[in-house]
């Protein structure tokens, strides 16, 4: 990406100010929507925060959070590490990349919720199925982004590495990975969100604990306030993670484009 294509970075304080402004705008919009639909459909922002606080203070919440958290963590590691390795492999070996890419894109584009029975068959019930479902959602974008990143590495870097007599391991670690890092981080951001989504959907189908279970139970028990509170929690978590990754990406990218 050319440097001029990036919007000129405003001073850090303006950026923060803009974020706060956007936040205020969103909250106001939410408040209005809540007023228009009534609290029994969409809880107002303040009430939601209070509900969330109560929810999180409840003794069993830690268990639910830990359940989702641990499944998500494992799924995320599988998505990111597995996606990175597979993507690097498929990107480096052109033919296998060309063979698998359309299949991966196809798999990415089918509604994976319909694959649940197959997942249950392969992974049995419980934790492993949840993890598998989460990883299934997250790993494909990571593979695709990594693959493209590795493919687009300027060939001259590899030739330069060879001219310095690098071992294959050094080549991978010192040249291939850093050269494709910005795109990989972008893939990670998407992978993070989709893994979380997959884990939650997995929990909605067969579970007795976890945030996904709480969501589906609240749907069945008609507790919109809990649903909105949990959605808020998820948005905040995912946004924070995305922000962190974005900061990392900017740092890495900054070097690339000056």
């Amino acid at each position: 990406m050319a440097a001029h294509a990036l919007p000129r970075a405003p001073a850090a304080s303006t950026a923060l100010q803009d974020k706060l402004l956007l936040l205020v705008a969103l909250v106001v919009g939410w408040q209005f929507l809540s007023l228009a639909t009534g609290p029994e459909v969409l809880t107002a922002p303040l009430a939601t925060v209070q509900r969330l606080a109560r929810l999180m203070a409840a003794p069993d919440f830690a268990g639910h959070a830990a359940e989702t958290g641990s499944a998500f963590a494992v799924a995320l590691v599988i998505s990111l590490v597995g996606g990175l390795l597979l993507g690097a492999l498929l990107g480096a070996h052109r033919l296998s990349g060309e063979v698998t890419e359309p299949l991966l894109v196809g798999l990415y584009s089918i509604p994976k919720i319909t694959l649940y029975p197959v997942v249950l068959l392969l992974f049995g019930l419980g934790m492993s199925a949840k993890i598998a479902f989460g990883a299934l959602h997250g790993i494909i974008p990571v593979i695709l982004f990594t693959m493209n990143a590795v493919r687009n590495i300027p060939h001259v870097y590899i030739r330069a590495g060879r001219s310095m007599r690098l071992s294959p391991g050094q080549m991978f670690l010192r040249v291939l990975v850093p050269a494709s890092l910005p795109e990989i981080v972008t893939g990670f951001r998407l992978g993070f969100s989709l893994t979380l989504l997959g884990t939650l959907i997995g929990e909605m189908f067969a579970s007795q604990r976890g945030i996904g279970y709480l969501l589906i139970k609240s749907m069945e028990n008609n507790n919109p306030d809990v649903i909105v509170a949990l959605a808020l929690l998820l948005v905040v978590l995912a946004t924070a993670a995305s922000w962190l990754l974005l900061a990392l990406e900017r740092r890495v990218h900054g070097r690339f484009t000056g």
Partner: protein, 303 residues
Amino acid sequence: VDLTVTHFGTGMYGVPFAVAREKGWFKSDAGLDVTGFITSAGGGTTIRNALASEIPYGEVALPAAIAAIQQGVKLTIVHGGVLSVADQVWITRKDDESLRKFGDLKGKKLGYSSPKSVTDIITSVMLQNNGLASSVERKSVGGIGSGLTALREGGVDMTYVTEPVWSKEKGNFRVAWWSTDIAPRVTQTVGIVRTDYLQKNPDVIKGIIAARRKGVEFIKSNPAEAAPIMGREYKIPPEQAKTAIESVLGAKGVYWSRGEFDYEGMEFMLKGLQMVKAIPEGPFDWKTVIDESYLPADLRSKK
């Protein structure tokens, strides 16, 4: 271990299990250390979950069990579960005075959960009985939450709700009729076991049935004590649990079976499912899929 119980935490079917676990009867009768109950949306998923778990037993929806058996799944029905639809009530908006009797439904919109479900059967029978089949528009609302929303916003004029949600929402809507008014005896759930497991571990299943039976009997004799237990397990206020329990116990007929079967109620369900085309037409041989030998002797049907 975990046991599978359909709609645990959202429906009334699981209350005996909650009580039995709290009282330690699974430990004493079946030697099981039950850590929790797995539940899921959808009957088929529940059965699949049940069959895939460590103890391939579950109290599941009868329609799903019938479908599974018809598709060749090797499972055996070992006990009756919930024998009536006393937890299901049909409601209208509080201020809607126009719906006082079935006939008033003419030209109105009636919400039910989804095609080929129990609510589909109940509404079909109700409309047929009242000659309304062609003059009422039925709409699938998906679930209770969206049903109540639709009712509130006028998307439908009448919809269903089940316990214990109803006990929470009581103040906001008006009861029109109960499902038991249309069908007093409908077997909603049964206990199933994967057949190969059943043959190898008959005592575990017998123990689970016994523990559950104690739970049912305890609720009946001490509803006031059962309510807080249900409240804890279901994460709802004890008062709500209390009204819900009283509501299903107060209805006519048996709600929680101690394990015994109600063949008439099962036959109603079967016919109903065939009527809404959820399963193919044709006779269904209960004898080959039900094994009463794991029930305590006093609960087996008299031949």
